[in-house]
Amino acid sequence: MLLSEIVKLIDGKKLWDFENRDCKIAGASDMLSELLALAKENMVLITGLCTPQMVKTADIVGVGAIIVVRGRQVPEVTVQTAKDMKIPIVSTSLTMYTTCGKLFCAGLEDVHGIRK
């Protein structure tokens, strides 16, 4: 699924002008260590965190795009970090539950490749 389609689906806001890309896997976490343990290359990360730390952690495991949920005000430094690391970042006013639900229904797989 194209990132542009995902942004449209969750009524998201692009936080910097990143290029479109294709995404197949998604995962949600508010715990950085869990992210390190679970993340797959190019995964869409759905999170409630908006610290630069979260972006750095995402970079370590090669996250493909970040969605910050619940309409949180993402600090400039976080956006800048994402931009420096060339990771697309999107914010949405949807809750984590709804965001996950919509992406799941749209066909994104979870980290174990399960989707029925």
Binding site: L36, A37, Q53, K56, T57, I60, V61
Partner: protein, 321 residues
Amino acid sequence: MIEMEKVDDLIKRVQFYFREVAVEEFMTSPVFTIRQEQATVRAKEAMRLRRFSGIPVVNEKEQLVGIISIEDIIHALENGDLNAPISQNMTRNVVTLSKKELIVDVAKKFELHGFGRFPVIDEKKRVIGIVTQHDLITLLLSKLSILYVHDARRESFVHVENYRSIPTGINLKEEISEFQFSIDYMDVSLAGTGASELKKFLLSKGFSPEFVKRVAIATYEAETNVVIHSGSTGIINVYFKYGVLIVRVEDYGKGIEDVDMAMREGYSTAPDYIREMGFGAGMGLANIKRCADKMMIISEPGKGVVVEMNFWGHENESIRS
């Protein structure tokens, strides 16, 4: 003290997991041998000076002909034979190993014969190594991938700038660190910068992305531990030697109270404000253990923490891209 039978029992229980390991991987080599025509008193002196409890005996072609143990020396003393050649006092029926034998067979031989050591010989009967129970135990500990030095011996490691890399035995003092990063604990938002930098560095050196990812995750966890828990500055040093990448992260802070608890998944001592930032899941050390091929923690309350992680290529995973 653990009795020897308990050690046997332990070895029996865990050997299943390491049954593929061959003798050549854990034997002590090269090995000290003694010629059969020498006087028995020479063997006695060698044992006293080198604290051996037995020495393989060889002929002029360096072929194994027997073994001389403390027991044999005692017999020689009793009979007043200390000046006789070793060949007269040694034990001749030696049970040997070949370097390809597996750990299960070795454990069986220890059990069956009750000997303290087995010489390892090649096809020409030359002694190429020796296996003692100590070698077996060291192997098992290192294979369990974490070795926590928990007694007075760690005193000499903690607060020493450089020390011998325990898992690899390489003296790090003589090695120039390929990558060094100072960890600033004052700013939590900087946590992970070292791991990020290391990732870039390793990729630029031509290491493969999968390999680098493992290293980066483990380093990230060790680095954030310093920032969150130590209350002190820290340093990351990286060495590459004999195909093994060694990452050593150390701090000079408050140390770990209970390493066993800290290793447990889900256990964390992180304060609430740290948890709100997404840290403190209690998965840090577990994550390191998962990513690193070997991991060692040395710590003691008040004396800082040294985490050493070793990485090497796995099957289906090349180190270089």
